[in-house]
Symmetry: C2
Subunit: 140 residues, 2 copies
């Protein structure tokens, strides 16, 4: 999660909502990414989506069933469903997102998906959350 937090800090510096993600295969960090929605004008360019796409390209398969995803914020419904489609083994996320989350909140995607990863929320929650609070405080 520390690597994901480093990615989130990069997003912050690029004036993007500070969310970072990494995909691990066993002890190997496969890819790391951060939110690029604003920079790329792409509504789907969340950190998790970029990480899943990059990992699938590296491994040459759309099934990442031996991989774990770490992300600093509870995934939205789009990212949660993509995690299920990619058959990610374990999902670790940092801050909870009652407004935009799709795992423990909102659409609760894994209650309906064919594949259900093991989910651990609240990992380094304070650090992940503070970065987001700081970011939005400056913009209000």
């Amino acid at each position: 999660m520390f690597s994901a937090l480093d990615q989130a800090k990069k997003a912050y510096l690029h004036d993007e909502v500070p969310v970072g993600a990494v995909v691990m295969k066993g002890d190997t960090l496969l890819v790391s990414s951060y939110n690029l929605v604003k920079t790329t004008s792409d509504p789907t360019a969340h950190a998790e989506m970029l990480a899943l796409r990059a990992a699938s390209q590296i491994l040459g398969t759309s099934y990442l069933d031996e991989c774990d995803l770490y992300v600093t914020l509870e995934p939205c419904a789009m990212c949660a469903a993509a995690i299920a489609l990619a058959r990610i083994r374990r999902l670790y996320f940092g801050a909870y997102d009652p407004k935009g989350g799709g795992v423990d909140h909102g659409a609760q995607v894994f209650k309906h998906s064919l594949h259900k990863p093991t989910v651990v929320g609240g990992v380094c929650e304070t650090e992940c959350s503070n970065l987001l609070i700081d970011f939005f405080k400056l913009r209000r």
Copy 2:
């Protein structure tokens, strides 16, 4: 929807699950795309995702609020949430998908999303559905 069906037929010829999508801005067809999950080894490469990403690149914005999306199959939760994030105005889909759909079925994403497009399901349902039935019949 006829253009989206043409795209679905292209997917079929490429041995991809035959789903096609187009994004319209008013009377102008902005982009058309088809499912490329297998070809690209990308679990997120559904027709709708490719169409949304291409349209946002053409228009230079992640907000497609003057655009309508036509897709031959009920979007899954990932695509439905992406449609909401992109603020698509109207969604027209063909076949219903009780197993994998995320609009009228499963996670029913728009019940939880901040943006809710106008949704019209069952457009050219028989043609859209038959293409999928044919595809899976050959593979069983």
